[in-house]
Symmetry: C2
Amino acid sequence: MKRASSLIALIAMVAGQAYAAEGLWTFDKAPIDKIRAETGAVIDQAWLDHVRLSAVRLSSGCSASVVSGQGLVATNNHCVEGCESDLSARGTDYVKQGFSTAKREDERRCPGMDAEILTSISDITTQVNAATAGKTDRAYTLARDGALTTAEQAACGSDTAYRCEALAFFGGGQFKLHKYRKYSDVRLVFAPEQLIGFFGGDPDNFNFPRYDLDISFVRLYENGRPLATPEHLTWSRTAPRPGDAVFTAGNPGSSFRNMTMTQLADERDTLLRITNIQRAELRGRMIEFGKTSVEAKRVSDNRLFGVENSAKRDYGRQLALSDPAFMASRQAAETDLRDRVRADAALAARIGDPWGEIATAQRAYREHWLAYRELETAAGGGSDLFDFARLLVRGAREQAKPEADRLPAYAPTRIGAIQRDALDNFPVDPALDQMFLEFWLLKAREYLTVDSPAVKTILGSDSPETLSRRLISGTRLADPALRKRLWDGGLPAIEASTDPMIVFLRKMDELGVAEQKTWTSQVSGPIERAQARITQARFAVYGQSIYPDANFTLRLSYGKVEGWTYNGQTVPPTTNFAGLYQRATGQFPFALPAKWVAAKDKLNPNTVLNFSTSNDILGGNSGSPTVNARGEIVGLAFDGNILSLGGQYGFDPAVNRSVIVATVAITEALEKVYGQPRLAAELTGN
Amino acid sequence: MKRASSLIALIAMVAGQAYAAEGLWTFDKAPIDKIRAETGAVIDQAWLDHVRLSAVRLSSGCSASVVSGQGLVATNNHCVEGCESDLSARGTDYVKQGFSTAKREDERRCPGMDAEILTSISDITTQVNAATAGKTDRAYTLARDGALTTAEQAACGSDTAYRCEALAFFGGGQFKLHKYRKYSDVRLVFAPEQLIGFFGGDPDNFNFPRYDLDISFVRLYENGRPLATPEHLTWSRTAPRPGDAVFTAGNPGSSFRNMTMTQLADERDTLLRITNIQRAELRGRMIEFGKTSVEAKRVSDNRLFGVENSAKRDYGRQLALSDPAFMASRQAAETDLRDRVRADAALAARIGDPWGEIATAQRAYREHWLAYRELETAAGGGSDLFDFARLLVRGAREQAKPEADRLPAYAPTRIGAIQRDALDNFPVDPALDQMFLEFWLLKAREYLTVDSPAVKTILGSDSPETLSRRLISGTRLADPALRKRLWDGGLPAIEASTDPMIVFLRKMDELGVAEQKTWTSQVSGPIERAQARITQARFAVYGQSIYPDANFTLRLSYGKVEGWTYNGQTVPPTTNFAGLYQRATGQFPFALPAKWVAAKDKLNPNTVLNFSTSNDILGGNSGSPTVNARGEIVGLAFDGNILSLGGQYGFDPAVNRSVIVATVAITEALEKVYGQPRLAAELTGN
């Protein structure tokens, strides 16, 4: 659990440049020469285009790839658990039992799931900078958002087959427009039983060696028919060997590799300190909640997975930020850059003191973060019924305002996503939803205290328990038709509604909006503007060879199949079916599904099941195709080792490892365990 | 929630001396002149002896005081909740409904509760230092423990009416023998309903303004009759006024006010980081567990209180250690001492570099802490049945060893306490006990990982769920007669036992013993020896005017009735009955018991209910008599404000406040709410 303090890594970080396998490279700036020099692999623009056009981004927050000519998409099992849960019903638990289809007609649409393929990237930095020139504070934010919106509208117009997203890279140092072909009819084809799709469960999560068939397949449909996808990855029936170069193409969600030291300290001492405690308590409540009945377990298991996954992720982040050696490496990187800026008078004059400005903004961070969290970012605690009401109330109120006054997420180009979220149809379990709402109310009262005016507004003379019960039992917002009427009715319908959850949001939502505005003006806005100048400094000092932080856009990472050595212990890079059967104790989460017990003798014990690589991936990369230099898919990334979690803030090439499930194991399982020769044939082209 | 960074406090701390109300003074070194100079209050040795001989230490980890001539003892309600819970049964929940008696015969013995009165303090530093001279490592520890044991035996012999405790002060810079008159027949006399005894519940815990009748009464018995206690505190029917000097006499459990900066960093980054997360998850599980039935709530509520109280306490500690201003104040204090040592060559030569030695030991701390916690200090997770088995197995094994090889807690003079804990009779709820055991096993597996040899030894092919269910359902250790037979049978009985919990402990207890030995030799031993030299430095630099860290021995603190100002907001120091009724929303934990609702018009709205003072108290001080300069008891300390929690590491006189329940409110409640004129008369002598 202790972080390595590799001297090599330290030195690498000091220079502020990417070494070894580090890098979340955009597809328009892939370091082809560097890759060849470091790994021997030769890739070109055609290779990049092919991989990009085969890569898929899922609205479940995952990555995926097209792996047949008939729209078949491979991703992780945990990426479709939400879909499986939505398709399940009392007595039918697809998450647990898996989902399989005998014919195309059995494939079932995943409620709310979108799939997107990145068709183009354009640099719009010049336009945005022109629009924001000389502006600060709210004027800057409005001008920037206006320029981004304009770029999105210009590129996509009203064509609903596409989605355009203009967003900042390098913390605001660059702006780019991403155009995606969008598919909204995504159907579940195959997912294994949870016992094998998440073999080892939470204890093995973020650990390696690993034995996990974390895979699933969905299919893209258009006009009710499978999408023809001539552009797709070739499925490999061979595992890569140790030392082989491999690439991932996926959408890492976020990273903060250029945070200043004051930001890192607040990340550790404010944000993670409190979120880790709160999430742990929620985790405990969910585990006991799931014990109350089979049905309670079914409706809560997928949410529990999300909570536990985040809990371990943030445990790993806090671990890294609590490691003096890791913090020293970040300090060294910051010092190096600041020294180089100081040594260049012209540069220093141009850059000013963004580090000092961030330190000032971080004082506001420490003052406002808790209220911002409890009243805005964590408000509702994950209650779907609360979220529906907030989208409806805020949607109506914001749309009634002049465009320039609206919150960014409610701008005309973005309101479609809000509307879709507000009207989406999926089952809500009232008991679980009430627990989430109650938990949020309890934490808001605990952390802001009983005497806080905001808490008094929210609770009145209720307790968290009575209020959440009253709201959940009284609201009818689980009904999508009601939500449609309220959305279409706009502000008058919202004002007239007597639904208790709408009434509650009418009363309290302004508290959250106010916190968001304070946060934007005093914290995130100033930090973004200062970070943009730090980026300018990094470009000036280190050249164009740097990569931008993750922002859930498509990135290429390169690396090799390799294990690692830590505390004198060497971990080999591959596991196989034999190891799976050895690890299976018969007790959850180390119990195998009946089909796997039965198929033991049919499987080749030496088939590679999982392997580790030095690719630089992060949350959001789940399901990323792992391809070899020939562009064949050899595996799906589904995890990182525990030492990879500090990767949020800095990459350590000595020990940061991705964890991949091999295509060779997938095909063999489909054929020998699941009796799915049709699906295997579609993959392998036989 | 944000810590004040009072410049005054900072400056005060820099000098490394006690300022204003700071200080956990021992009764043999009370700063009489300083108290007079700062508060105007005149106390003398007779006053100190009287207060000391009226002060009581309870084995529930609380403080208390004798308040009548018939052995009546006043303490907090939360100090007897364990007793109430033990006396309760299905259908009778004394924690919830309170406990009252119409006559002496109704008073009921609290299982396992001891009460102790400190009769003498002797300095044994010279003897201990003579025994340890020139020794290091294990030899030092053995010699020291031997000397302490010898001192205890010399003072107490085999007289079971007394208990002698020889222990370190100033982190090993001094050793003192405390002799206590011990009372093992402690009976519950009166406790209010939990709704008023813990009004405001967890949300108001560690907050002020406060409205809480956190009181209870027990009585000391000897030979089946109430103990005659001519030495007792006079009960005041008047509340002290703002500015009045007040004193507390109680037993603060532990403090770490002389931790070095490396120790504080590990406290924050290792210990609190992990314990806070684990405890939060347990909290969540217990809350949901308590929802499953009325009975489940009854058996778990008192344990939940303990968990929540510790959770908020450690939240406050982590908050202080995450505050740059607070850490700067500790750094300033360390720098001041080290600079002064450096400036005195002879002193520097004598002291050496204890700070460097501690930094070295802290590296071992970071390496071993997690295993030490999971396998030893937190092993069993609070399962009583596990604890019984561990005491029995370890008791038998340690007693079979030569004296010099035994663990310190199993030395001949201490084995009585072990035996008593092993054989004590109280009800165990199997479902709750199983949850605690399961939770510990889950966390051991999660934090040490599935591949840890220790985890493999513990779990075998079981899961935490199956193992804990099997052990709890199979063990018969809830039966005290069985435990007596096993204890009396010694090692042969333990080796022959087929009780699954005994079998389990036989298998795994050695893992914990080994971790304890590693910890003592590599971490706590070296730190203790280095801290002893830091103490010598502090004596040399600051003179004898310093006080030792808390160690659950009797301490005097002085202060004044006063509020505080924080972030521009001034909090007045008193609350009254009128405020209580205003705060009562009718919803838990702000609902009043029926008797209080009924008595509203009989109570004087202006009667002081709670007040805050600048006394320096800590956990363990709960129930401390708060006395005025005349030695009259005016209240019982029951809490501190949220800003007092950093007091574990350093006292901030500007904002650190104790929270006290006034005797005037107690008497009025006994008379007007509870119809207990007999008890009120016993208190007031009428």
